[in-house]
Point group: C2
DNA sequence: TTGTATGCGTTATCAT
DNA sequence: ATGATAACGCATACAA
């Protein structure tokens, strides 16, 4: 039952050629007559030979394996992050097209990256890393093909993909202002990022400020809340902002998931969206259009973002030089039911 | 800059021993004096040596790599399946604890499984495969450690994990009946499964029938709808069932995601949940508790289910014989806002 | 155009 | 207790 795996040696014997010739056929190195090539191909087909990737990897020092790394995502925390799923889905899809496989790797606190070298990974994609973290330094020192998503790193040498977060923050804020509100609460999804002036949330915050400035609405620190990035965090922030609410107020949450939690939280406090208050989110994850009320949000094409990242990564791996190492994708305002015109 | 990777040979030279000794230390084969062992360990630590897994894999024919396979999940379809993500999160978490990595692999139509052997994968976990598919046969023929989730396969030799779906169907139906309804619409998430009498949905259907029978409510084929398993499918089923609704009616959707879509669809048709009609879901994905209205559902501990699967798989890989090859996990009714007592 | 021989880094068998 | 060496399956430099 346990049949030994077929190797190029077996194929070579059967075809009365040397293993080198078989190898050449396998890798399309030319230098083989079409006649013997065909014979060999046929035998390969017939016997269902497939290469041993471990051996190949040992020899070539590559693996056709990639890894997606999400820093500071602890065990079990993947489940309520639809944004990540969507990115990863895009990555996996693009990778599969090019015969690469994707490993899903949460990074624990120990920040142990040894598996990247041990497994001869061909490249990695890092989502949302902080520009001052020492994990970043570790990763750069690996000297592996790498793409950073949603990270806003200063180093011009690094390959990066993100959407136009500043514009997103601007468009969202402007939308709320245009509805007649002049007190816009901003709820950030990632704690401390705005203060540390880094990451996507800071960019969105800059857009927020720009829109305020254009409308000549004075900025107030009191209206900016930095909560965590989960649904539960959004839920609890309802209580914190309850005191701020009046007819003039609208809320911009920098993630859909946070907005969902917030809406639920407000609801339990007797505040209904959008009749009592307008709330908008950010990301346009799959569910926003099906909520009741459906959620006004900033749409980014998350799936496409994942694909762009994999494109960048594969280009590096294949050694194609790229003009532009930084890709910024468009964003778009999606007006739905959760935001309405100010009534009075 | 490109420093060659440190190998066992380098360590051996530095320690004035042979590579065999280093290898023995590495693998705790004993037969090495504690003195030299310690010296070697120190050098390993100092130089930051990590083993080359490709070489190891070539030699040992294993890889410490697992794969999760979701049949018939096409490219890009991962994103709106919170259930899968939750399972996978559990799997990844359990794997990481045991130093295994997880590859995420959607299977395309060609059903090409060659990567499993090519990469010397140590095992695979398959979610929701049909008992009559030829993919199943292919997988069994691989003769690899394998765990099937949510599949209800007859072969007693196979390792399987699922929750008590029949009970779930029963509890949900009974709940709706107990609220005073005697016309229970059942919306299945997977097309054709009930007719083909296979899979989780068929089990839940059996529970549904059992609950009806106990309550002496006649069963009607007209009330059972087989839609697809996405949110959009749930959304469109609203129109299809609109004609069936009356004061006596409640709806049991066999997935939360479908229930969400349905509730939205009903809403657009002027039907409000729960005041106009009670709707319940199945799975208890992370969002159900935060919806407005929150969703009554059948809770299964999805994360735990993933962990149980990985436990079963690792036991096989390590050659531990197991008494019980089939694990059935409990389910639980979670009553929330989307179902209310019949008013008249 | 094809074959021979070597090495990738590891484990394991057999000596010493 | 330790060392020499073969083997895993493949790719490639070099020879023929």
């Amino acid at each position: 039952m346990i049949q030994k795996k077929i190797t190029i040696k077996d194929i070579a014997r059967k075809a009365n050629v040397s293993i080198a010739t078989v190898s050449n056929v396998l890798n399309n190195k030319g230098r083989v007559s079409t006649k013997t090539a065909n014979k060999i191909k046929q035998i390969i087909e017939q016997d269902g030979y497939t290469p041993n990737l471990s051996a190949r990897s040992l020899k070539n020092k590559n693996s056709h394996l990639l890894s997606v790394i999400v820093p500071y995502l602890h065990k079990g925390e993947f489940q309520d992050k639809p944004y990540f799923w969507q990115v990863i889905t895009g990555i996996e899809s693009g990778a599969r097209n090019e015969n690469f496989h994707v490993m899903l790797t949460g990074i624990s606190d120990d920040e142990n990256l040894s598996f990247i070298e041990e497994r001869h990974l061909d490249g990695i994609i890092v989502i949302g890393i902080d520009k001052n973290s020492n994990l970043l330094e570790k990763i750069i020192n690996l000297n592996k093909p790498c793409v950073f998503m949603d990270s806003y790193l200063d180093d011009e040498k690094l390959y990066q993909v993100h959407s136009n977060d500043r514009l997103g923050g601007y468009l969202g804020t402007k939308h709320l202002i245009s509805l007649g509100y002049n007190k816009i609460i901003l709820i950030s999804g990632i704690t401390g990022k705005i203060k540390k002036q880094s990451g996507v949330d800071y960019q969105r915050y800059l857009g927020y400020r720009q829109a305020l400035a254009e409308a000549r609405i004075p900025y107030s620190d009191q209206l900016v809340f930095e909560e965590g990035q989960t649904m539960v965090n959004g839920y609890y922030s309802a209580q914190k902002i309850l005191g701020c609410l009046d007819d003039n107020t609208a809320i911009f949450v920098l993630s859909d998931i946070g907005a969902m939690g917030l809406i639920r939280g407000l609801n339990e406090l007797g505040v209904t969206v959008p009749t009592d208050i307008s709330v908008m989110g950010y990301d346009d994850i799959f569910y926003t259009n099906y909520m009741v009320p459906s959620l006004t949000t900033i749409k980014q094409d998350i799936f496409n973002k994942g694909q762009k990242a994999i494109d960048l990564l594969l280009a590096q791996i294949k050694g194609n030089s790229l003009e532009e190492r930084k890709i910024s994708l468009p964003v778009e305002l999606r007006i739905r039911e959760s935001t309405i015109k100010r009534s009075r």
